[in-house]
């Protein structure tokens, strides 16, 4: 074996060299090939098919239907509203947790990180149902409230904006915390020390040094959260009322109940266009590459 392969090696390496000189990207393409074919088969092809289908039967008519119909526009607005609430809620709740994580000792940090990620491994549906148990008309909270005599009637906690937002925030919180944390751990703590020793109180040191340096993480989290929230289906379906219908649910109804595939496709294309333009705008403003690749320093 060894004897026979050894002499062949220089020749093979020479050939490889020649190939890689002629096609400088050959090796990279070869390594990317499995992933590219996966994306082609399961993402690009279906997307293209969806776009084609939205136009093929009735031309621009499905788009006109969506953009002129009050119902669809309302769903779109509701979706945007829920996404904004979820994003802001996640940031407000996640920022302090991520901050504490960066200041914790390594052993404590490991435990806290596991606690943060743990719910992520629980199924979406399980987590949504657990909120139903908590928030329902005869749920734990209402039993407590009526039992203690705080209120005589049960509170409307479920099937409204509140329950949808809380469910979505809970699901997206681990993502928020991890995104913020990954930026924050890269901030040199000595910078905060430098601020402190030169006269800044702990709060001012945080505000003038730590907070500005953590903003790239906040922007990255904003984008990630908003785009993820746009596509939510199960949570608003289980925890929301008719008023909280989001665009994914609507697309589902059009496709499976109305069986109007061109209309469903057009709604999907519109969602895709909104998401993509957000990404493009965002990367213009906040230099997405830098944000996701860490601070340029």
């Amino acid at each position: 074996m060894t004897v026979s392969t050894l002499p062949a090696y220089p020749a093979r390496s020479a050939r490889l060299k020649r190939i890689s000189a002629e096609y400088p990207h050959a090796l990279g393409l070869l390594l990317l090939a499995p992933m590219l074919s996966w994306i082609a088969v399961f993402f690009i092809f279906p997307t293209a098919w969806m776009i084609w289908q939205s136009f093929s039967e009735r031309g621009l008519q499905p788009y006109a239907t969506i953009l002129t119909s009050a119902i669809y526009l309302k769903v779109l607005l509701t979706t945007l509203k829920i996404c904004v609430i979820t994003t802001v809620g996640c940031l407000i709740l996640g920022y302090p947790v991520a901050y504490v994580l960066t200041t914790a000792r390594p052993s404590t940090r490991a435990v806290l990180l596991i606690l943060v990620v743990l719910p992520y491994w629980l199924d979406f549906i399980v987590r949504s149902y657990s909120w139903m148990i908590l928030l329902g008309r005869h749920g734990l909270i209402n039993q407590l409230v009526t039992g203690l005599g705080i209120s005589s009637t049960s509170l409307p906690l479920l099937y409204n904006l509140f329950s949808v937002s809380i469910g979505m925030i809970q699901i997206l919180l681990p993502l928020t915390i991890l995104t913020l944390f990954s930026t924050m751990v890269r901030i040199d703590r000595r910078l905060v020390d430098a601020a402190t020793i030169h006269g800044a109180s702990p709060w001012r040191a945080f505000r003038t040094v730590f907070l500005p340096l953590s903003l790239p993480g906040v922007y990255a989290a904003c984008l990630l959260l908003f785009v993820s929230a746009l596509g939510f289906y199960v949570t608003p379906a289980l925890l929301g009322g008719p008023e909280q219908t989001m665009i994914s649910q609507t697309i589902m109804v059009i496709a499976s109940d109305l069986l109007d595939w061109p209309l469903a496709s057009a709604a999907g294309v519109l969602l895709l266009v909104v998401t993509t333009s957000l990404l493009v705008l965002y990367s213009r403003f906040f230099r997405l590459d830098r944000m996701l690749g860490g601070m340029a320093r």
């Binding site: 910078l191 020390d193 430098a194 402190t196 020793i197 006269g199 003038t208």
Partner: protein
């Protein structure tokens, strides 16, 4: 100059050559200890840093220098002991109220601020200054460190040396009475390091604040300091002027750490008047002055002598008050202005510097005489057991 004329009276005082008499703070460390889990980083440290002095904490990596500095800064709370500034305990004073300037090992410049904003930062936090006064003070501080016209740049657009100067300017801008520096030149190349050593020393003379300077580079400590504090394994092993720690080290570790030292093992045979009679490995009795720790007859010692104090000769005759011993040349290295000669006394090497004229005719394997003035040598306690110097 119009700049100086515009600023307040004390600004004018500063630009004159003599520093204010109260420009520096006295720092006293009393029985200071700090541990991290099972690791003791600072162990029962006692030290008085005189007001206005340039004091260097010198020691190998891990000897507790940075921890000591962090305790003075207030970033860490001591497990035991006290720190006092001008006699006042500072235990309850948080770092931002200690009025300290600090240059960090990695400079710790704020990456999201320009040079101007970095330098202005302490003024904005500590002093309420009008815009013009602020601009003047920042300008003065940048001038002090020899850096102008770069105010609008960001730290990442500066060279290492420039970043170091910005860090100095930021630390000095609010005229702290105490300046802490943690290996501030560690990341720079040799030439630049030497130049900045001179500049930092010059700044110290001009402003008169107390400087506490951490380094593991003995040349830096010797050239810059009024007082050298040698640390090892979380403790202070010797405090003294650069000359005294260099010429009269208390033990083999200090002797070796402060520069090439010859340490010849020997045994104290007698204790006569001001000198020990020590027998070294080749059987010769030599005279070593009695200073520092005392050694009983019969105890093992290391005879310490600096390479530059040892002379070499081919013949027996050596005049004056010198101790002499025979040796065999093992190695001769050409260094440019001189030769580095290693000669064996019994099984032990003695290193010395021979000027070019003296080195004529010295050959490897040749028999030579070594001589040194006895007052330049010291008898140091030989490390016991397996502890190596």
């Amino acid at each position: 100059m119009s700049v100086a004329a515009l600023s307040a009276a004390d600004d004018a005082a500063r630009t004159s050559d003599a520093p204010r008499p109260d420009a520096g703070v006295e720092v006293r460390l009393e029985r200071l200890s700090k541990s991290f889990g099972s690791v003791t980083a600072v162990d029962n440290v006692n030290l008085t840093i005189p007001a206005g002095a340039f004091v260097t904490l010198l020691g190998p990596s891990g000897s507790g220098k940075t921890t000591t500095l962090n305790l003075i800064a207030g970033f860490l709370a001591p497990d035991a002991g006290n720190i006092a500034f001008d006699g006042r305990p500072v235990a309850s004073v948080p770092p931002h109220r200690r009025n300290i300037g600090m240059v960090f090992q990695s400079y710790a410049l704020f990456p999201h601020m320009t040079v101007f904003d970095n330098v202005a930062y302490p003024l904005r936090m500590r002093n309420r200054l009008a815009r013009e006064a602020l601009t003047i003070r920042v300008g003065e501080s940048l001038e002090l460190v020899g850096l102008t016209k770069l105010e609008a740049r960001y730290p990442r657009q500066l060279s290492g040396g420039q970043q170091q100067r910005v860090a100095m300017a930021r630390a000095l801008v609010s005229r702290p009475r105490l300046l802490l520096m943690d290996e501030p030149l560690g990341a720079l190349d040799k030439k630049l390091r030497e130049r900045l050593q001179g500049e930092i020393k010059d700044i110290h003379r001009r402003i008169g604040s107390t400087f506490v300077y951490v380094t593991h580079d003995q040349t830096e400590a010797l050239t810059m300091s009024d007082l050298v504090v040698v640390m090892r394994d979380s403790r202070i092993v010797q405090v003294g002027s650069p000359r005294s720690v260099y010429e009269a080290p208390v033990d083999a570790f200090v002797a070796d750490f402060l520069g090439g030292a010859n340490l010849l093992p020997g045994e104290v045979m007698a204790n006569e008047r001001d000198a020990y009679a020590v027998r070294i490995a080749n059987g010769r009795m030599i005279s070593v002055p009695q200073t520092g720790a005392s050694h009983a007859p019969g105890s093992k010692v290391l005879v310490f002598i600096r390479p530059e104090d040892v002379k070499i000769s081919h013949s027996e005759e050596m005049v004056g008050n010198v101790v002499t011993t025979a040796a065999v040349v093992r190695e001769v290295l050409f260094l440019g202005e001189s030769f580095k000669v290693t000669a064996m006394v019994g099984p032990h090497p003695v290193v010395l510097r021979a000027p070019r004229v003296q080195a004529e005719g010295i050959e490897i394997g040749g028999h030579v005489m070594l001589a040194w003035p006895p007052e330049r040598s010291r008898a140091l306690a030989a490390p016991t057991g397996s502890v190596s110097p």
